[in-house]
Structures are given as structure tokens and as C-alpha cells.
Symmetry: C2
Amino acid sequence: MSNSNESNTQEIIKKTAREVFFQKGLDGARMQDIADKAGINKALLHYYFRSKEKLFEIILDEEKQNFMRYLEDIITSQDITFFEKIEKIVEKQIDNMINAPHLPHFIMNEIIKRPELLNQVIGNSGFKRVFEVFVKQTSAEVKKGTIRNIKGEQLMMNIMCMDTYPFIAKPYFMNLMGIESEAEYIKVMQKRKKEVVEFIITAIKL
Amino acid sequence: MSNSNESNTQEIIKKTAREVFFQKGLDGARMQDIADKAGINKALLHYYFRSKEKLFEIILDEEKQNFMRYLEDIITSQDITFFEKIEKIVEKQIDNMINAPHLPHFIMNEIIKRPELLNQVIGNSGFKRVFEVFVKQTSAEVKKGTIRNIKGEQLMMNIMCMDTYPFIAKPYFMNLMGIESEAEYIKVMQKRKKEVVEFIITAIKL
DNA sequence: GTCTATACAGAGATAGAC
DNA sequence: GTCTATCTCTGTATAGAC
């Protein structure tokens, strides 16, 4: 609260906890592990954040904000074409995944374990409304004859699939493609942006 | 072993454990919970499967067999066209996901937590070799002029993305699309097969 | 604010009766 | 093979000194 950097220790804890929770999930994470990695002791974790649950909730709250919400600006934008929108969506989504590669898996993981989280995650994001806008826009384009007959739901699903899954299955694809380092995989994903856009546009353009 | 149905109780335990592990992961699962759902007590779990770890390993071993391996027949098949292969891959993959919707998330989950599992999962599957065959086939098609210039790695990635991610993010998409029941979602996925095939073919065909 | 020591609870595993 | 009772360990959480 008193702000002015929110106390250094507190930030270090959150940063560390985020990493551990991302990799191990709520159940797999150990307070001891977080403490060790943060260079402090367990008691201090509880001093700053009453309990493991509480700490987790805070991380989740912060992270879920980053999950999908950024699409609103692009989709509701008036002054770019439908194709340009798709291009921007793909680029933005892949960029976001590069910055927070564990996020989608982390979110899905906790939703599967505790389905009641779903409303919390999606509900507040307002993305549902934006999604419906996109569906309508797609229908409009079909009517205009700029794209072939396709449902917006399917199209958005395809976009999200191709942007997101390569990060969820990252270790799998890395192995398959013989890629050794994270850095190299990121490069491949950077280049992939163009490919995905081209793939999608070609699939729908008339 | 003595076979003849592998003892009923043992099978019930495995079936139950699979469900619980799928939903909660190794760490989140509780032996008490498995016992309750299976209608027996904890001690019996340990009687049949020494430990939680052991039980988990057995489930994982069985399930990983189902993960991707089935693609080999299709890809190495000689008497169908490249486009027919894609059609069959998509159909087969989505069918498999319908039958075991939690599998990909489950596998990825454990790989992220214990990266050493990766070799075990991919290594034995032989899918890596099959993947390379597909990459070569794609190049050949490009050269033949039947499809536009695209790398096999990207194409296969796109296929796997579109087949798999809708099941990982199932609760998310269900909410987004206003779908209430699992059964209805499966119907949507059944219909989706055709859509995905069309999407991919349109995206690459010359 | 940060530490050490410790209480407490939960979950995996075992002993032993039937 | 199946059960109840119990042991043991691990991990969260707290008390209290500095």
C-alpha cells in the first residue's frame, strides 16, 4: 500500500512465486522452494502473504489480466481492414506468448482443477463480448464477399490454436524439431508470425 | 500375469486413478479420493500398486502410447494423396481427442514439471521419425507444384494446433461459445473436423 | 523486517485382523 | 483380497527472539 516500489522483498517474492507456480502449479509448488529461490526463509513468505493460497490468488489475479484481454483494441478498431486485424491479432498474441510462455497452460491447469475459476478468468475479461463482435464482423465479411463462407467461432478458434498451442507444447515441438535452446525456439516463433498470418489469409480470402 | 481380466478391482482402480490424475495431476490427486471414487479403501490401493508414484507411472505409460503414435500408419501410407493424408490425420486426431480429451494437457503438464519425462514420451513413440517423413513429403509436394511453398514443420504444427488446442482449452471455448454441455461440445468438434480439413487444404492448395 | 524453532495438519504408507 | 487402525513424513503455518 505505502507504495514507493511496494517493498523490494515483496516484489522479489511475487516474481519468484510466479515462476514456481507457473512451472509446478498450485499443488506442486513448495513454499520452501519459493523461499529458497527468493533467497529468504519460509516465515517471511507468510509475513507478507498470509498463506500459500493467498499468494497464489494474487499471482493468478495479476496474470489473468494478461490473458486475452489485449485483443479488444484490435478487434473493435474501425480504421483497419479485416485482414489487417487478423495480422495484428496473430502478431500480438504470439508476442504475448513469447513474453509469458507458461501463462496459457498455467491458466488452463487451474481451471481444470477448479472449474469455478472459469467465470473469474473469463467473466471479468470482457473478452466474451469482444469475441461476439469478431463473430459478427466475420459474418459481415462473408456477406461482402471478401472471404469464403466460414463461421467466426471457427476462425477465431483456429487463430487462437495456432498462436497458443506451440507454447503449451513447447518442449514437445522443440524435441520434434531438434531445437536445443529456448532462444532458438523463440526465433522460430518470431518467424512463425508471418507464416501463420499467410496461412490464415490464404485459407479464407476469396 | 495370470490375466483373465487382470482382476476386476485392479482395473477399477486404474480406471478411477486415470480420471483423477487427468483432472488433478500427480500432485493434486489424493489417494483417498481415488479410493473413495473407486469404492474401496486406501490400503487396497497400496496392496495393488505399491505407491502413488508407481500407480501414476503405470497410467502414464499406458496413456503415452496413445499420444500421437497412431499417425504413423497414415503418414507412411503409399496409396493415398497428400491431401487425403491431411484429411485422415485431422479426423483421426480429433477422434482421439474426443476419446481422451484430457490426455494432451495431462502429458504436457507432467513434462513441464519433470522435463526428463520428455524423452520417455517422445523417444519411444517413434513419432519423431514419422514427423521427418512428413516434412520430406511436404517438400516433395511443393516441388511437384501441388501446394504452395510451406515448410512441413509449420504445416504439421498447424495441424496439431488446430486438432489439439480446442480440447486443452475446452472449458474456455465452451464458455466463450456459450456451450453448456460436454456432449454439445463434442458435436461441435465432430463438425469441426470437416472445417479444419477445408481450412488447411484451402490454405496450401495451388 | 527477518530469522530459528516448533506446532499442527494432511496424506502416503504399513501392520495386522478377518 | 479387503478392511480398520496407526505410523511417519512432509509441508504449511505460527510463536517468539532479535
